[in-house]
Every structure is written in C-alpha cells, then in structure tokens.
Symmetry: C2
Subunit: 300 residues, 2 copies
Amino acid sequence: MAVVRKSFDLKNYIEKSTHAVNDALDFFLPNENVKPTTIHKAMRYSLFAGGKRMRPALVLAAAEACGGSWKPAMPLACAVECIHTYSLIHDDLPAMDNDDYRRGKLTNHKVFGEGIAVLAGDALLTQAFEIAAQCKSWPRYSHQKIILEIAQASGSLQLIAGQVADLEGEGKKTSEAQLKYIHERKTSALLCCSVRLGGMSANCTAAQLKALTDFGYNVGLAFQVIDDILDVTQTSEQLGKTAGKDTAAQKATYPSIVGLPKSRKIAEQLTNKAFAALKVFKGKAQALEGLAEYLLKRDK
Amino acid sequence: MAVVRKSFDLKNYIEKSTHAVNDALDFFLPNENVKPTTIHKAMRYSLFAGGKRMRPALVLAAAEACGGSWKPAMPLACAVECIHTYSLIHDDLPAMDNDDYRRGKLTNHKVFGEGIAVLAGDALLTQAFEIAAQCKSWPRYSHQKIILEIAQASGSLQLIAGQVADLEGEGKKTSEAQLKYIHERKTSALLCCSVRLGGMSANCTAAQLKALTDFGYNVGLAFQVIDDILDVTQTSEQLGKTAGKDTAAQKATYPSIVGLPKSRKIAEQLTNKAFAALKVFKGKAQALEGLAEYLLKRDK
C-alpha cells in the first residue's frame, strides 16, 4: 500500500481536475456577453475567483474510487461548485458576515452591489440544478434521486440551516453540540453530498455509498475542527488570512468551547474515521485519500 | 360553448384549488417547530401570506385541459409557488425594490431581518426543486426534463434576467422592446412554465404543449400590460394598493412609453392570442379560460 500511495501525485491530480472543472464550468455558464451581461459577469466573477475546487475534486475522486470516470461525474462536480459559490456570495453580504474580501479579492457585493450579488447567488443556485439535471443517470441513481440529494444537502435542514444557526449564534454562548450542528451543516453536508454524487455517477454499490457518506461526513467535520484549531494556533502570516478572526467575531470554535487538547483529539478521531471509511475501495481511493490528506494534514 | 362556459364556477374553482395547494404546501414544507425554527417560520410566513395561488391554479388547470388530474400536478404547482414566493422575498429586499409591505403585511425582511430573508428565499428556491423532483414522470416528460424546465424559467436568462433588467432600468429611459423584455421575463416566464408543467404532468401531446406555451406567454405579457394600464387609470382605492406607484418610482410602463390607447390595443391583442391558443383543447380548458378571464378582464 505504501508504494502505491507514494506513486500518487496529488499536486498533479488537483491541477488536472481544477483545469477540467474550470473548462466544464465555462461551458455550462452563460458567457459574460449574454444579456443581461451584469448577472453573468457577477456569476462568473465569484465562480472564477480562485476557488480551490475541492468539492468538485471530491466528486471526481469518489467516482474513480467506485470504478467510474470523470466525464459522467462532471455535471455534478460543477453543480456542487455552483452551490458552494452561491453560498459564499450570500454569506459575504452585509446582512450576513459582511465581508469585503474573499481570497484577496473584493466580494461580489463590493464589486456589483448588493442587489446584483443577491441575484448572482440566486442564479448560481438555480444554475446548479440546471447543470445537475444534465448528468448521466442510472436505474439505481435516477435524476430524481440526484436532484433530491443536492436539494436536501443545500436546503433548510442542512447547508442553509448551518448558516442560520451561525448567524443566530454570533455573540451568544454556544455549546459543543450546537457548534457540531453548525459545522455538520455548513461544511459536512455539501462535502458528504459531493462524494455521494461522485459515487452515484459511477453507479456505485450500496456499500460504497455508505463508505462515501462516512468519509464525507468525517472529512467535513474534521476539516472544520482543524480550521478552528489553526485560527487559534497559527499566525496570520502562516494562514495567509487573518488569524484569530473567529475569536474577534465572537464566533464559537472548538478550542474556545472544549479547549485545544480536546479539539486536537476530536480532529484526530474524525480524521481516522475518514480514512478508515476508504478501506472498502481497496486501493482505488488514492485520489480521495490524497485529497483528505491535503484537507486534514495541513498547517494553514 | 356559451352554455358550457356559464356552467363553470370560477370562484369555486379558485377556492378549491387554493385549499388543495395550501394543504400540499403545508405537507411539503418543514413545520415551524423544525430546527432551525427561524428559517421555517420565515419561509412559511411569506408562503402563507395570502398569495392568490394563481400560478399553482394554472398548473392544475393546464393538467385538466390535457386530460390529467390535480394529484400528479400538485408537486409542480407547489414548486412554482415556492419559486414565485422566493422571488418576491428577494425583490422586496432593501437592496432591490425596498418594500416594507406586501399584500398589507410586513415584508419578510421587516419581520425576520435581511439576513434571514435572504436565506428564506434561498431555502424556498432550493425547496422548489426538492418538491418538483417528487412529481410523477413520463417517458416523454422525465424528471430531467421537468427540472430543466423549472431551472431555465427561473434562471439568469428568464426570471432573474427580468429582475436584473428591472433593477438596472430604474430611472433610465426604457424602450418598448426593453420593457417587453422585462415583462416577458418577470411575469411570462414563470406563468408559461406553470402551464407547461401542468401539461407535462398530464403527459400532454406536443400540440398541447405548444398551445400551453402560447397561452402562458400571452397571458403573462397581457397581465403585465394591464397592470401597467391600471396603475395609471385607477385610483389607489379601486386598486387596493398605491396607484401611480410605477410612475412615482420612475419605472417604465407601457402607457408611459407607447401611450394609453396603444397600450390598450396591445393588451387586447395579447388577450385574444391567449384565448385563441386554448381552441385546441376543445372545451376541456374551461378552468384555464376562467383563470385567464380573471387575470385579464379585471379592473384592479
């Protein structure tokens, strides 16, 4: 196994998948010169603002783990990226997190105004379903099932629930259970959905889908706990973004609630669970393993 | 025909369909006590704020015209109502039309705050796809086709395009062509989609779908032209809302661009086209005819 793992070139994988996803997004999205040009410029501004394309890469890698290929998974990879981007545009709005910058670039509403930013988010969410509906389906994984999967992960019980709880929790005392609730919904829900969709695009077995669900859930939650830890332990320089931002915004984090040692323990346990879930793929999950390492064994 | 028409009780039809649609929406939407309660309260607040349920009624009536029944059409009726409601919530935001009241009730953001109002709109849009995916499908009208139909009518080239053009046009000189572009997208697109979805739920023929498309397009545009005319000719008391609001907001209207006589001529032509499109249904389109009369032969 160690030899196989060494032969996997993650950097190359991320470069290639990012390139393929960018091409596909460019294909699916209306051009900037399509009327009304403002909305298409705004949609593309945030969609091509340097996102790491982690969710699409997870879709593609999950498809591979189940013996599938990139092509039938690509519409689903693009759909989850549209949903991720819409959620960032709306989260950045003055009425929400009120952020002026994201990844070193002005946020959507700072460039296009609040009205267009709301509509650009709406349009990307709508576009996600239009793109997803163009995927290949299987008797076991019909378009109906795929649309339900995306709608539920993005809806008022998952992704949006996380943002609501986050919004309502600011400045208030948060319990560990509440923080877990927020992280599960803001991060795990769409990561879990991403790998499940990849599996579905490859007509995966029920056992594979279960493994992907466990993997996605644990990777998502671990990612968020690690994010909380790094916000406390690293300097802004190391992170490449403002450190201590959560503390400053009075946002609850794992270290602020359970302390740093227990946070590290939780992160380790979740990480172990994530990797353990991949055993069922017997070496075909190299890309998933690589991506999980990239997401979880980081110092920024 | 006159005898048949007289026997149709529109008031009763609207009451019954509204009741059935309200029950179905109540069934599909998470209860107010489901966590996070705020978002479900906000979604339900606007969804049950006294909307006339015209779009769902058109879905059901179109299904009937094609020999179908309400039950398989109901998820689609609910989906279009969710989309209509989300678009109203977002249109009312301070960054858009900045309205404090709708149908005599405080707008969503006035009750729940801007952040939650944005998220409630997002959640209703997402919910629309979740509900629509639960409809019955046919070989000719697969879930794929139905999701694409809804996504395209609601997307950046139609419903959202209308709102963008409206937002960008305020206070600027607007041509008749531009105004038509806005009305087609803000109103016709979703009305047209509604009747087409009703037809699809009844496994309609290609000729029936074409007729529904013509009907929906013309009803939608006629409705909007008549709205513009009434805004100029009726008093606030007659309308039950502020008259002359468009003029005050410097919004372009048909009367302001082409004058009142030509506006009336255009409305009449569109209305005639709408009714003419229903001939193909040979008397089975009573409910559609009744609804079109209600929408187009009104004085408020």
